[in-house]
């Protein structure tokens, strides 16, 4: 046990990739070890993936820019509407419709960025929520997208008719989205975003155009959310105002919070728990919403950093008790140094 823990400590970079790889292997095997694949693959597997990707765009902005956006669902929905309009209204093929959907979603994200770029914290959250609700009202009334009735049917391309093919298509998009987020986060652009998150004024003083960085980060997150829209519209076979309603917005926020609102990959765990509760809570009680709410509260209570934060809690459990000063963290060492220094100064003054 001790040697395993030591190995984990000495290979942190490897470990940071090991968990996603294990998750990916389990995800690939998923359709083959479940008892009722006809139900579980679309309703748990695929729904978890598109909810997760939409939530991933939210966590990306929160983790690297410190902004909590409630417009990500609207972006996913507009991507879905773009695809549905292209296929249902104009009769275009899927390979033309998908780029149109991505373009519509990403363009909307860019517009949202321009509108909200100078706001932060609660103001950013409120303005993105307001934009999301404006879009909901618009699609509910707009004849071009068939108002409340929405656009249907949005048929999957022939090569995705087989449910497993569709699942692996969705999984491939999820892997791409995850790698894209991690890649962007590791570039100088991503590091600058973290700087802006910590201290925008300092970054501005260093010559960075904070607004420009925020614009591109929000647009990039919009592109990720648009990817979720592709899977969502083919999964639901329709685009209607319900996909951009307040309930849908809150669903994705809950997924992000359950998984860990700063964890890029944890959103899929949050998505899994959410879809399980969504489908099966009613099997346990007639008051399924109450059960879902209680479990949500319990998770927040016992794992405030979401389900992926449980890993941190476990690390704390197995952490070797410090017998000497070797295990002291940097904060403690710094505090002791300051205390010693001020004591010395006091002594000299006396």
């Amino acid at each position: 046990m001790k040697s395993v823990i030591t190995w984990f400590r000495n290979n942190r970079v490897l470990v940071s990739w090991l968990i996603p790889v294990i998750v990916l292997v389990v995800a690939i095997a998923f359709p083959y070890f479940i008892m009722k694949p006809k139900f579980w693959v679309p309703n748990i597997g695929i729904k978890t993936i598109w909810l997760g990707i939409s939530a991933m765009s939210l966590t990306f902005l929160n983790r690297y820019l410190g902004l909590l956006s409630l417009a990500q669902v609207a972006v996913s929905a507009m991507s879905a509407y773009g695809i549905a309009s292209a296929m249902v209204t104009f009769g275009l093929d899927w390979y033309i419709a998908i780029p149109i959907g991505l373009a519509v979603g990403t363009l909307l994200a860019a517009i949202i960025a321009i509108i909200s770029i100078r706001t932060v914290a609660i103001y950013f959250l409120m303005i993105t929520l307001a934009i999301s609700q404006v879009i909901y009202s618009w699609v509910s009334q707009e004849v071009f997208v068939n108002g409340r009735r929405g656009l249907a049917p949005v048929r999957r391309p022939e090569f995705l008719l087989e449910m497993n093919n569709f699942y692996f298509f969705a999984l491939a998009i999820a892997v791409f989205a995850y790698l894209a987020c991690r890649y962007v986060a590791s570039t100088p652009f991503g590091l600058s975003l973290e700087g802006i998150k910590d201290s925008p004024d300092r970054m501005r003083a260093l010559g960075y155009s904070v607004s420009k960085y925020r614009f591109w980060a929000i647009t990039f997150a919009g592109f990720i959310a648009s990817l979720a829209g592709i899977i969502m519209v083919f999964d639901r076979a329709q685009a209607d105002p319900d996909i951009v309603s307040l309930n849908s917005t809150l669903d994705v926020l809950i997924v992000a919070v359950l998984g860990g609102v700063t964890s890029i990959g944890g959103v899929f765990l949050g998505g899994l728990v959410f879809t399980l509760l969504d489908n099966f809570a009613s099997d346990f009680t007639d008051r399924s919403m109450t059960l879902t709410g209680v479990i949500f509260v319990l998770i927040l209570l016992f794992a405030p950093k979401g389900l992926t934060g449980v890993w941190e809690q476990l690390k704390g459990v197995f952490k070797k008790p410090s017998s000497s000063g070797a295990a002291k963290d940097l904060k403690t060492i710094a505090k002791e140094a300051v205390d010693t220094s001020s004591a010395k100064t006091k002594g000299k003054n006396q």
Binding site: S245, D278, F280, S282
Partner: protein
């Protein structure tokens, strides 16, 4: 182990245990149907402003089970109930769970407008399952070409048949304001009323489409323009009850015309004093009022408590379905073809009148215009004003509108 470690480990264990229990419960759900069983999945709202619909669906299915039994040709009917919140995404998840996880043979539902269109789209992808509509009433549900989808009730435009003329000619209203919930059912329901009312010479003075679940109608009441003779109230369930209560408090001077689910026991039976607003309100729909002469209606009311529109519609649907299963003696046939043939041949008189199907598997029904009255004991009820027989479906479905459609 130190206390801090214990305090960290316990929550982890608790979450792990909860998660494991959840997974175990999920994996255990949805037993497969055996060969001597016919599994019916009942879909109805159990959350939101129409949450009472699930209770009504259960009452209706129980009543049909009592009347026709649960065994046909050696096969036992098993019922699985699945709730929704009235939204399309909820209906989609719920119907998929019934068909793909619980592996039901037949779906009985859904109960709300927007859900209906989603379920029909899904029915088109599941040719081996038969779908019998519960209480959803958008026009185009039966115009999508789903041969496995049946509706034993009128659509929401049919329910308004005769009401527009009645408002214009009999009541003498020339200018009517529209207040309705913002989803597909009131679009069709109000569309049916206003198309007839405007064709007769009436005028629409404006519209307020409010979100489902609206609790405050003060703004709407104050924005009704001068010169309005009456207000059309396209609200249902708790929304209708809230509106009527606030209309009394605001001393609204306008007479009210109800959409098909506005005059309903759940609204009329509200604890608030709504009599001043509700009495005189009239509506059109599938539920008859006092004075309707049909012994089956009297029997139904005596055997089932608190009948409302959902109880009646789910009853009609379940009765037709169980009768179909009885007709084929429990043998649904290859791809359920025999059951579908039996359903297509449905011809029965129920508590709400005579029902047969047209070539789109859409019912041709009786329809009623009723008016709210105060009974001697102070309670509110409805009386029959007019009835129409053999009402057939049209082909127009309505979008949200702000002037005469």
């Amino acid at each position: 182990m130190s206390m801090s470690k214990k305090s960290r480990l316990l929550p982890v264990m608790a979450i792990g245990a909860t998660f494991s229990l959840l997974l175990a419960g999920c994996a255990g759900g949805g037993d497969e149907a055996s060969s001597d069983e016919i599994k019916i999945g009942v879909l109805a709202p159990d959350t939101g402003n129409l949450s009472f619909a699930m209770g009504e669906a259960k009452k209706a299915v129980d009543q049909v089970s009592k009347e026709l039994g649960l065994e046909f040709g050696g096969k036992t009917i098993t019922i699985v109930y699945q709730g929704t919140d009235g939204t399309t995404s909820s209906a989609q998840s719920a119907v998929r769970k019934l068909v793909e996880n619980d592996e039901v043979d037949i779906v009985l539902g859904p109960g709300s407008g927007d859900e209906g269109l989603t379920v029909v789209e899904y029915a088109l992808t599941q040719p081996d399952v038969t779908f019998v509509n519960g209480a959803a009433s958008p026009v185009d549900q039966t115009l999508k070409g789903a041969d496995n989808f049946f509706r034993f009730m009128g659509d929401s435009v049919m329910w308004m048949g005769g009401l527009g003329k009645y408002a214009y000619e009999t009541k003498g209203y020339k200018n009517i304001y529209l207040l309705a919930e913002d989803y597909s059912f009131p679009y069709d329901n109000a569309g049916g009323f206003f198309s007839e009312f405007c064709a007769a010479g009436g005028n629409m003075t404006g519209a307020s489409w409010v979100p489902v679940g609206t609790t405050d109608y003060a703004t709407v009441l104050s924005s009704i323009p001068a010169g309005t003779d009456a207000v059309y109230v396209g609200l249902g369930g708790s929304d209708a009850a809230n509106f009527l209560s606030q209309a009394v408090q605001a001393k609204t001077p306008y007479p009210l015309i109800g959409g098909s689910i506005a005059i309903d026991p759940s609204a009329l039976g509200a604890s608030a004093d709504i009599a001043d607003a509700a009495v005189g309100m009239f509506s059109g729909g599938p539920v008859p009022g006092a004075g309707y002469t049909n012994t089956l209606w009297d029997k139904f009311n005596s055997e089932v408590e608190g009948v409302n529109i959902f109880t009646l519609l789910y009853y009609n649907a379940a009765y037709a379905l169980f009768s179909g299963i009885k007709a084929v003696d429990g043998d649904l046939g290859d791809g359920q073809a025999d059951l579908r043939d039996a359903l297509k041949a449905t011809d029965f008189t129920g508590p709400g009148g005579h029902i047969v199907l047209d070539s789109n598997n859409q019912a041709i029904v009786d329809n009623f215009i009723t008016e709210v009255v105060q009974n001697a004991d102070g309670s509110l009820g409805t009386v029959q004003v007019a009835e129409a027989h053999n009402v057939k479906q049209g082909t127009i479905s309505y979008q949200r509108f702000d002037s005469c459609p």
